[in-house]
């Protein structure tokens, strides 16, 4: 007979997001970043646990309560062209949230507000009646941002907001998001596979591997002194304008395991260059010291409210372990 396998895209992920804070979420594709985003917004019902927004559990989608909550939680998508209706002029799409929630006054007032939003995100007033396919990728993403901000959300989930854009445009859109955050003060869950992007945007960063958070902390600390062997590998693989000279690049062997069949023990152990026997049997938990957290047996507590990183595979320390 058929045995059913359960895919746990996300397992035991827990995080808090303070008002006005930006949490960056990094990891390889398929590690559960987007699922986390959908869970946060209540688009997917969690099989266990709950998402709490401003003290209340996020209701399941398709209910009126869920629809009302959209006023406060909005999303920026990876593919702006796909997220826009190609048959409507952009001004109508930017004004649509007002119509949906019955706010923003008369038709003319809504249009005026939409025009103000266009200016705010750096679109020209004469582009109001253009259709999405007539705009560039960056402009389309600006439309999506304007539409999301129309409702003045308190939480903005950005799922790879710039990865579909040209590199030259990416910085502009990121700067725009950063400016808008300073002005309007929304919190954000910022998802990307690109460390540089996350570093620029986030107040705090969480690294995901196979549906679990393996490390968390302030971006400067996480990227300068990564604790978890997986973060170390990610950081060492990031391209740098200084070239790879003098850096110890860690190349992970193998592919990420099938999320349907997560390895026992530490999920990272089959690919971990420094794994020890214990990693195969015991699941490490995310332990917290100060503003950093890590889920690794080898990243020991250094005392005094800090961690010592897991040994670097090319360092002498490894021989001692």
């Amino acid at each position: 007979m058929v045995t059913k396998a359960t895919l746990k895209a996300v397992d035991g992920v827990s995080f808090d997001l303070a008002r006005g804070e930006v949490l960056g979420l990094v990891g390889e594709s398929g590690c559960g970043k987007s699922t986390t985003a959908r869970l946060t917004l209540g688009q997917l019902p969690p099989s266990a646990g709950e998402v709490i927004f401003e003290g209340k559990t996020v209701p399941s989608s398709r209910t009126q309560q869920w629809r009302n909550l959209r006023r406060h939680m909005q999303m920026i998508y990876q593919d702006p062209l796909g997220a826009l209706d190609r048959r409507l002029p952009i001004i109508e799409q930017i004004a649509e949230p007002y119509t949906i929630h019955g706010i923003g006054g008369s038709r003319a007032e809504r249009r005026e507000k939409a025009q103000a939003l266009m200016l705010q995100v750096g679109l020209r007033p004469d582009q109001a009646s253009s259709y999405p396919h007539e705009l560039s990728g960056g402009q389309r993403q600006r439309v999506v941002i304007a539409r999301a901000l129309a409702l003045e959300p308190r939480l903005l989930v950005c799922d790879e907001p710039v990865s579909a854009l040209d590199v030259s445009i990416q910085a502009q859109v990121l700067n725009l998001l950063d400016d808008l955050r300073r002005k309007t003060g929304f919190s954000a869950l910022f998802i990307s596979h690109d460390l540089k992007v996350v570093r620029q945007m986030a107040d705090r960063v969480a690294v995901m591997y196979l549906g679990r958070i393996v490390e968390e902390g302030p971006p400067e600390d996480v990227f300068h002194a990564p604790l978890h062997p997986y973060t170390q590998a990610l950081v060492s693989a990031a391209p740098s304008i200084h070239g790879n000279r003098g850096r110890n690049r860690i190349v992970l062997s193998g592919d990420p395991p099938n999320p349907v069949n997560v390895p026992g023990g530490c999920p990272f152990h089959p690919r971990c260059p420094v794994a020890v026997v214990r990693c195969r049997t015991d699941v490490p938990s995310l332990s917290r010291e100060g503003d950093r957290a890590v889920s690794c047996h080898l990243a020991g507590s250094a005392g005094g409210g800090g961690f010592s990183p897991a040994p670097h595979p090319k360092s002498k320390a490894l021989e001692a372990v």
């Binding site: 629809r67 909550l69 909005q74 999303m75 409507l88 649509e96 949230p97 949906i100 929630h101």
Partner: protein
């Protein structure tokens, strides 16, 4: 192109050359066959709208003196251009009345089936799960059964009247529209604009009515165009068998049906409406195929 035109226009031969290339570009976009087909359909629409002005007589007026008189091109007189039938009724007048009835029924039926199909297709896409499975099963059952047989059974059980007959034909082809509508709606809501609008907090009515429907309208319109001739064939077949449009009303199929008894002595009674049926369905099919190739090459058959 524009630059080439300007540089060539001073010399005499060049203007002829550009005129020719313009004409060929025009016919490339609008093949002559399609233009003819559109012309024919427009002519039919004019007949439906203003048929009464063209009809020389009332379609029920009998002229028992001039029964089975030949049309003009077979040696008849101009008083009955297309001849008369077995009761001396003017074939041209009857033909116009038949066109109006047959095409109006087919048009209304196509609309009904499109509405019904889109509603069910959207509902399946929206509800998913068991409801969707049930609708899919209904679609399969409908597709498995020749519609003509179902139509005959319904007519036998419920009797016949013009509104009932039209609604009955309106169930023809709903399953294809429903299948297409469901597929496109699922594709739209899985990723992209529909999901985005839903994330804004839009109600399902808004997501489906204001966003998905306009986006898939062209595909639906094409499948309606392809449905239309089949409804004409179905209506005329049933009327031909004497089970569709009932006298004193007349339809293209009914005319062929009654004319069939005079196939030997007065073939024109039957041939005129038969020709109209064939030409009209042919033209609509051609236009439908052309639209499909032009607008939506992904739409399967």
């Amino acid at each position: 192109m524009a630059i080439a035109d300007e540089t060539r226009s001073p010399s005499g031969t060049a203007s002829v050359f550009t005129a020719k290339s313009r004409a060929s570009a025009f016919f490339e976009a609008w093949p002559p066959v399609i233009l003819l087909a559109i012309f024919w359909i427009v002519a039919m629409l004019v007949l439906i709208a203003f048929g009464n002005f063209f009809a020389p007589q009332s379609y029920t007026a009998m002229d028992l003196q001039a029964r089975l008189s030949e049309p003009v091109f077979m040696g008849g007189t101009f008083s009955h251009v297309l001849g008369t039938d077995e009761l001396g009724r003017d074939v041209l007048s009857r033909l116009i009345a038949s066109i109006r009835i047959s095409l109006t029924i087919a048009f209304l039926a196509t609309l009904v089936s499109a509405c019904f199909g889109v509603l069910l297709g959207f509902f399946a896409a929206f509800a998913r799960g068991r409801v969707e499975q049930a609708i899919l099963m209904l679609i399969d059952a409908q597709a498995a059964m020749p519609f003509m047989i179902i139509a005959l059974a319904v007519l036998a059980f419920l009797g016949n009247s013009l509104p009932l007959f039209t609604i009955l034909l309106g169930f023809y082809g709903w399953e294809r529209i429903a299948r297409i509508a469901r597929g496109l709606a699922i594709a739209a809501q899985e990723q992209g604009y529909a999901a985005a609008v839903r994330d804004l907090g839009a109600s399902p009515l808004r997501v489906y009515g204001r966003h998905i429907l306009p986006n898939i309208a062209s595909t639906l319109l094409i499948s309606m165009t392809l449905n239309f001739p089949e409804v004409i064939l179905l209506e005329t077949s049933l009327s031909f068998l004497g089970l569709g449009v009932q006298p004193p009303e007349t339809s293209l199929g009914a005319m062929v049906g009654y004319g069939r008894d005079y196939i030997q002595s007065a073939p024109w009674i039957m041939l005129a409406p038969a020709a109209i049926i064939v030409l009209t369905t042919l033209c609509i099919s051609l236009i439908g195929d052309w639209l499909r190739d032009k607008l939506d090459p992904t739409l399967g058959k």
